[in-house]
């Protein structure tokens, strides 16, 4: 009798954690949290490879790299969420001067695919001078206050940057790039990705296909070179007269304010090419070449603009 009672209680407990407990409209959210810190020394680099990951990178004064990684599974059945969570693997380790952080799905041979909704979250806090290489696949990343070298490769991922300085190399495919207060040597290669940059300084080299590029306020700009295909390019700056321009639109239009004195080098149906040289001896240079797209120069961004 005692055994029967134990069996009944176990069966009820199992049922309570299983489908019977899957109340209508409720999900079980199981989070595996990992905390680890690494001592930082000059020459170290953090290398992140996220899948479906929300990555936040911040800085602090301590000579230490702190990592909090969360792996999350959501499913109406608790047992399914727990089992699927274990299929999501992680790596957080240092190999010589590189700190590798990674999450991925790895199911054993013959094992069923995960049924849960899975995601990862990273909160990484490190010294500003620590170089970072971030790869994200179907994720979102937010990076702030880095001051040395930042490399990003995103696919189907959005990257947001705030006050990032130094050597910045961004590559994106089917993602969006948003940067504010960036400075240094910036190189961007974007395929089917929109780019929005605000308050930028330094030198920029941008290659883009199938995207919309918006540059807002570029007072500290030294050099901007955009080469784009099937993209529209917007440049908003109240001091457009201070820049030197060489703009080329093949199968596209060049739009600019009336008081900007443009010198047309070509003005045919298929090719528009204009040049502007300011009176001062030294000026920032902006070169934009676009094929199958338009160029817009405006002093202010429209009040109803979403960006």
């Amino acid at each position: 009798m005692k055994h029967c009672l134990i069996f009944l209680a176990s069966a009820l407990a199992f049922a309570a954690s299983g489908p019977l407990a899957a109340q209508a409209g409720k999900l079980h959210v199981i989070t595996k949290r990992l905390d680890k810190s690494f001592a930082f020394k000059t020459g170290y680099e953090v290398n992140i490879e996220g899948e479906k990951a929300e990555v936040v990178i911040e800085t602090w004064e301590k000579p230490e790299i702190s990592v909090r990684m969360e792996l999350i599974a959501r499913h109406p059945e608790k047992a399914v969420a727990e089992a699927d969570l274990e299929k999501m693997k992680f790596m957080a380790e240092r190999v010589r001067n590189k700190i590798y952080l990674r999450n991925y799905i790895s199911a054993e041979e013959g094992e069923a695919k995960p049924q849960s909704n899975l995601e990862a979250r990273y909160l990484i806090t490190l010294p500003a001078e620590c170089p970072v290489y971030l790869k994200n696949y179907f994720g979102i990343s937010n990076v702030s206050n880095l001051a040395n070298r930042f490399r990003f490769f995103g696919e189907f991922s959005k990257i947001g940057m705030e006050n990032v300085q130094g050597a910045i190399d961004l590559r994106s495919r089917f993602g969006d790039i948003v940067g504010r207060s960036l400075g240094g040597e910036v190189s961007i290669n974007a395929h089917r990705s929109d780019i929005t940059l605000e308050d930028i300084q330094g030198r920029y080299d941008i290659d883009a296909q199938y995207g919309i590029i918006r540059i807002l306020s570029s007072a500290g700009l030294l050099d901007l070179d955009i080469n784009a295909e099937k993209s529209d390019i917007y440049l908003f700056d109240p001091k457009l007269n201070d820049f030197g321009f060489l703009l080329t639109a093949q199968e596209g239009q060049i739009n600019y304010p009336g008081d900007l004195r443009m010198n047309f080098l070509s003005n045919t149906e298929s090719l528009k090419k204009v040049e502007v040289k300011p009176k001062q001896e030294y000026y920032p240079s902006i070169t934009i070449t676009v094929t199958f797209g338009d160029i817009y120069l405006e002093k202010e961004k429209p009040a109803n603009a979403k960006f």
Partner: protein, 206 residues
């Protein structure tokens, strides 16, 4: 020689058919050289075995020990150098201790179990493949259309179509592994909008 093997001839035939291997010539040269050395050294080993054994007198060890104990007093310069070297080593060890990176912390693992509201039923329902057959048919027709082939953007439209098809397949495959959510379905919707725009462009040119 004959054996008791029942199918002796078959066995012999099989043995004959086995592949034969010859060792590289240097193997024999090495074996000969080793044998020659063994022959030459044999008298030497025999003579060593016949040598008499002697034990030193017991007082000899006491004298050696006394000599070792007295030696530092006779060599003050060497002792001083040894002390300096020890001090320098201690300083270096201390510096290494203080300059070493703080050891990386151990991984801490914890679990959090919560519940959350599920998305409305049917919200993530697959409707993105509903027009797939028509779209593929249209693209097929466009790719074969003689008038469309004359258009300057013919190749780039087909390349773009392929690019978007690949992207859609990538999103769907990823969704099968990580599940559906609002973000990923929005990405799929964006690709579908671009595919639709391209399909409209193809339709006009047919």
């Amino acid at each position: 020689m004959r054996s008791n093997e029942a199918n002796h001839e078959t066995l012999e035939e099989a043995v004959r058919q086995l592949p034969s291997y010859a060792p590289p010539p240097e193997v024999w040269a090495n074996i000969e050289q080793a044998l020659e050395i063994m022959t030459l050294e044999r008298p030497l080993h025999e003579a060593i075995g016949q040598l008499p054994a002697y034990r030193p007198p017991a007082h000899l060890w006491a004298a050696i020990e006394a000599g070792l104990a007295a030696e530092p007093a006779h060599r003050p310069g060497r002792m001083r150098a040894l002390r300096w070297a020890s001090a320098a080593a201690a300083v270096l060890l201390l510096m290494a201790y203080f300059l070493r990176p703080t050891p990386d912390s151990q991984l801490k693992l914890s679990y959090i179990r919560e519940t959350a509201d599920a998305p409305a039923q049917g919200l993530y329902h697959n409707d993105w493949d509903a027009d797939e057959a028509s779209l593929q048919q249209l693209a097929e027709q466009y790719s074969k259309d003689p008038v469309a082939k004359q258009q300057p953007e013919y190749s780039s439209i087909l390349a773009e179509w392929q690019d978007l098809n690949d992207a859609k397949a990538e999103v769907v495959s990823f969704m099968e592994r990580y599940g559906k959510d609002g973000q990923i379905i929005r990405q799929l919707a964006e690709i579908e909008r671009e595919r639709s725009a391209l399909a409209r462009q193809m339709a006009i040119q047919i």
